[in-house]
């Protein structure tokens, strides 16, 4: 039964990483730049939800809205300071800027929210469903439901709406998009905010899942989301999600054989091994690496 529990834990954590990876790949596709501030977007989302739970008495809906809104606000700031100002500059300038703003978010969080680990509200009081020998907690169900809702909502939005079509057009060819009258910068801002909304949601889910929130929580998850996206081939949203799920599963199955202290090591070793044998990532055809 232990292995089934670990697989379930892996699926839950993997789906949070997958959500982050989807958002990350979405941002890369629309904006055309790698970001190193995505972990801090998750942290902002987690803190926004943490304070919303305190203010509104553990109201799940308000907490979710706060987490998403936190991610969107962080996304707007990142776009304004890192991307918009450097649209015509060499790409590395914007990327370095995302590193800087990541440090800024982290430091501000430490100053204003404190450096200690804060306990997250217990939303369901440890309730669970017993399926044979397997115990599925309400928190795990919440994580899976939220990830499915957010991922399928994004998929429907991009496929079925005019704005979604314009976002896909911008991701495929920015010059052509401008020439058909699409406001490319506005779409890039929107795409960045949507990606960050997923990041904020992932932060909220991580905080609820692990039961705590702290200023430096974004660092490891940010790198895991980045690893998942690299595994997927950068802009392939579906493959990035698979990459995230694989990392979550491997971490949890891996700690059955090694110490839990090696959780992060397992994830990053896996990324290195995959990239040695499949440098193009799992979702990109050979020779098409971005």
């Amino acid at each position: 039964m232990y292995i089934l529990e670990q697989i379930l834990n892996g699926v839950c954590q993997g789906s949070i990483y997958a959500l982050m990876a989807i958002g990350y790949a979405f941002i890369y596709g629309i904006v055309g730049l790698v970001t190193f501030s995505y972990g801090e977007v998750a942290m902002v989302g987690a803190f926004a939800a943490y304070y919303a739970f305190i203010l509104f008495g553990n109201n799940l809906l308000i907490g979710c809205i706060a987490g998403i809104a936190g991610g969107v606000v962080a996304g707007m700031l990142i776009y304004k300071f890192c991307y918009e100002r450097f649209l015509l500059a060499p790409k590395h300038i914007a990327i370095i800027c995302t590193v800087a703003i990541s440090q800024l978010f982290k430091s501000l969080a430490q100053i204003y929210f404190g450096t200690e680990v804060k306990p997250m509200a217990s939303l369901f009081g440890g309730k669970y469903i017993q399926l044979g020998d397997l115990r599925v907690t309400y928190v795990q169900i919440l994580v899976l439901v939220m990830v499915i809702i957010m991922a399928s909502g994004l998929s429907l939005f991009t496929k079925k709406t005019q704005v979604g079509m314009q976002l896909r057009a911008v991701a495929q060819d920015k010059k052509a998009a401008a020439l058909v009258g699409i406001h490319v910068n506005r779409m890039a801002l929107l795409g960045n905010c949507i990606g960050c909304a997923l990041g904020g949601t992932a932060g909220l889910l991580l905080a609820v899942y692990y039961g705590n929130v702290y200023a430096t929580m974004g660092q490891a998850v940010g790198f895991k989301a980045f690893s998942a996206v690299v595994l997927g081939g950068l802009s392939n949203v579906g493959a990035a999600a698979v990459g995230g799920m694989l990392i979550g599963l491997l971490e949890n199955i891996g700690i059955m054989f090694f110490s839990a202290n090696y959780r992060d090591t397992i994830a990053f070793v896996f990324m290195v091994v995959v990239l040695i044998f499949m440098p193009q990532g799992i979702g990109t055809k050979k020779g098409y690496r971005q």
Partner: protein, 236 residues
């Protein structure tokens, strides 16, 4: 319709277009011809707001569009079909066409369908391929899609950059027939072509660009008889 005055475009220290002035009158087909690197594409990119102008002004139907961003210029009625077609490869043909209608907010489904139907009548092959991804079309079909996508914005003036580049001779004829058909629909056309012979045959007037300067101008058929043009561009 379009008036360009003293336009200069520079990339770093290289001047691609130097102080050129020209105009395009309503319902005309005007051609810009010149060798590679003459500044034709840079001129069009500057007019559509993709490339920054160093100096000069651009007027469309009396409105100054010199400092407008690309998406605004499309809204004002100037459409640019770029060299290399630039269709959206993973959008279907129909989705590609719909993106061409971006500038019209709150359009009803019926109106949108009418617009699509107009393009399908003009380009019947696109109707057959409407559910196919843009990137899977042949070169000629992609060119038709790029032109149809441009026409979806109902432009007053459509600029085409090398529409026949890399196409089979039979498709080249088809594209030039389409250009004449677009003119007959009341549109104004600014055309860039390396195929000087065909280009001068269909246009009302033409400008010859050389190293960023306009060196000759005149009616298309007059330039066909011009010894300089014949020697440099027609291989006679």
């Amino acid at each position: 319709m379009l008036k360009v005055e003293h336009l200069t475009v520079t990339y770093g220290s290289t001047q691609a277009v130097t102080d050129i002035s020209f105009e395009v009158k309503e319902h005309e087909i005007v051609s810009l011809i010149g060798a590679n690197g003459a500044g034709k594409t840079s001129t069009l990119l500057a007019l559509s707001g993709i490339v920054e102008k160093d100096s000069g002004s651009v007027w469309l139907k009396g409105q100054d569009i010199s400092r407008q961003p690309a998406h605004k210029i499309v809204q004002m009625g100037l459409c640019h079909v770029p060299e290399g077609r630039n269709v959206f490869p993973q959008l279907t043909v129909e989705e590609n066409l719909i993106t061409g209608k971006t500038i019209c907010k709150n359009m009803s489904k019926a109106e949108l369908n009418n617009w699509l139907e107009e393009q399908y009548e003009l380009f019947p092959r696109l109707r057959e391929r409407r559910r196919q991804q843009g990137g899977t079309l042949s070169g000629g079909e992609q060119q038709m899609l790029a032109i149809a996508r441009g026409l979806m914005s109902d432009p007053q003036l459509i600029m085409m950059d090398e529409p026949t580049l890399g196409l089979a001779p039979i498709v080249v004829d088809e594209i030039f027939n389409l250009i004449l058909k677009i003119q007959s629909l009341g549109k104004t056309v600014l055309l860039i072509e390396q195929n000087a012979n065909m280009s001068l045959s269909v246009c009302d007037r033409a400008y010859v660009l050389e190293r960023g300067h306009i060196i000759l101008t005149g009616a298309g058929e007059d330039l066909l008889d011009n010894p300089t043009v014949q020697k440099a561009y027609l291989g006679i």
